[in-house]
Amino acid sequence: MSIVFKKTTGLTDKPFSYCPGCTHGIIHRLVAEVLEELNILDRTITIASVGCSVFAYDYFNTDALQAPHGRAPAVATGVKRMHPEKIVFTYQGDGDLASIGAAEIIHAANRNENITVIFVNNAIYGMTGGQMAPTTLPNQVTTTTPLGREIITGAPIKMSEMIATMDHIAYVERCMAADGPSIMKTKRAIRKAFECQINQEGFSMVEVLSSCNIGWKMSPVDSLTYIKNTMTQTFPLGVFKERKHETNH
């Protein structure tokens, strides 16, 4: 008998606090598998943010810091500048990264901090009960847009495209965790992003379109279809930035 699939050592034994069917769990696993496969678990420092993934420090089998809401890229900057030889990544949701932490992510990218950002975009504030996020889709119903999101509340903000305008950074890709091929593609993107950091190429970010079936009021399976058919209309997948193999630090 040979093992086809077993739980990675990149995750601790702590059960996830996520709702049934939430794709945070899949994305956690992909990140942890990459850390294990690249053999960097013992030199990685995880920066957890605020939101559903606030307990990420309990799940990744690494040293970790829990950052204030939106500040993960600033905390990561402090850690990485102290330990440039270590691998530092933030794991942030869309409320954390695109709203309250918009300044921190933009400036960490602009300084080309040699860190990796895993940006999980589910177009909603999950932890607090499903309020509108800056990424919420037009006409999407949330608990603070009960009639659907109108333009007066703003349009869905496209962080990957915005950050990719910075010429000097290493890597930005948007993926999704919605079906077999897209999950495998997401893992390749995460691996690529960490390789950029290992090779000292500078700032890398992988945005992953993710589900919030509870906040969206859908079944977990329907949520995957929603990511694939609806979210990607607003948030197209693709590599937005790839600076080829130049050491920046």
Partner: protein, 361 residues
């Protein structure tokens, strides 16, 4: 062999911090501490240390949280409105028990206020604006030399107790040029391997996690009790005042920072011009407040005057903490008006007979 230089307060603090062995400085420009971050921008990289000009005070304090959490000896500096923005991060640092030094060169307020010296950030420094039952060690220098010494002391206290420590001064000290003795060697290191998130968990055997989140109320209460026990220990060990006139017993002037410097001269004038032997008591730590020592120092006196460049913030604490039969008077200014020797002498003479004046509510 000591190193003496003629420096502006801000420059002296920056150079001293580097010489004491600060690993990383994260700051953001704000008057009147700009020369501090400017000096850091060249002395830190020149000595192979980290300097980052952050995008905001909020980012700077979170870089501090990250670098301190990763075991670094770290410092940031700012002023009034900037310190207000840092409060969230200071609370996080206190909650996660991270050693860090915050230099606060206060200006006048409220709001954008003005850039001239004031002590209206006493409450902001001592009581803080962050959430939760936390404490920040607050040292109050009255001269450039004291500021330099206090940076070293703040590093040591922060590391000894794993707690944020603040050096609170104002533009009068930060912008003043003086001959100062700078440190000649870095301060000894404390061992951080048991808690710092340095990314070596396999060699260490356990994961180090920097965190202030405890959703279980029993655990959070226990964490709070642990913090309070630490704060009581700091209060027992580190509260400090200086009695500038040990042989004067007629009364006292209680002050800190720039006001204390002026009060020393006022006490001298009260003796020479009016024959009253008044001692100047300079508070060197604002938290922990030197309650016991202050109570002792004024216990048989009919009158003591609080002199401050704020509207009764210190006065109220002196009233609350001394609880003696000594009548406590108040003289103060704010808004960038610097208290004068005349203000203090006249205030003392006016109130020593028991005349009440209006003070803050």
């Amino acid at each position: 062999m000591s190193q003496v230089e003629f420096l502006k307060g801000n420059e002296a603090i920056a150079k001293a911090a580097m010489l004491y062995g600060i690993d990383a400085f994260f700051g953001y420009p704000i008057t009147p501490q700009n020369e501090l971050i400017e000096t850091m921008s060249h002395v830190m990289p020149a000595n192979h240390r980290v300097f980052v000009q952050a995008e905001s005070e909020v980012a700077a304090i979170n870089m501090i949280y990250g670098a301190a959490g990763a075991g670094g000896r770290v410092m940031t500096s700012s002023s009034s409105v900037g310190i207000a923005l840092k409060q969230e991060g200071i609370s996080y640092c206190a909650g996660a028990e991270l050693p860090c030094v915050i230099v606060s060169v206060s200006r006048s307020g409220p709001g954008l206020g003005g850039i001239l010296p004031a002590q209206s950030d006493y409450h902001q420094s001592v009581y803080g604006g962050g959430n939760g039952d936390y404490r920040v060690i607050v040292l109050a220098p009255a001269s450039v030399q004291e500021a330099v010494n206090d940076v070293g002391k703040a590093i040591q206290l922060a590391e000894k107790y794993r707690n944020p420590a603040m050096v609170l001064l104002d533009g009068a000290i930060a912008q003043m040029m003086a001959s100062v003795v700078l440190p000649t060697q870095p301060l000894p290191r404390v061992d951080t391997t048991s808690w710092a998130a340095t990314g070596d968990f396999k060699t260490r055997g356990t994961r180090n996690v920097i965190n202030s989140l405890y959703l279980d109320p029993a655990k959070l209460y226990a964490h709070n009790q642990h913090l309070q026990a630490k704060y009581r220990e700091i209060a027992r060990n580190e509260a400090l005042l200086v009695d500038h006139h040990p042989d004067h017993h007629d009364g006292a002037i209680i002050a800190y920072g720039t006001s204390a410097k002026i009060a020393i001269g006022a006490a001298q004038r009260l003796k020479e011009e009016h024959g009253i032997k008044v001692k100047c008591i300079q508070l060197r730590t604002l938290w922990p407040f030197p309650k016991q020592a202050l109570r002792e120092a004024i216990k048989d006196m009919p009158f003591a005057l609080v002199a401050e460049m704020s509207m009764g913030q210190l006065f109220q604490d002196v009233l609350a903490f001394t609880r003696s039969d000594t009548v406590i008077g108040y003289v103060g200014k704010a808004g960038g008006e610097i208290i004068t020797s005349d203000d203090i002498v006249n205030g003392y003479l006016q109130q020593m007979g028991g005349e009440q004046i209006e003070h803050s509510v």
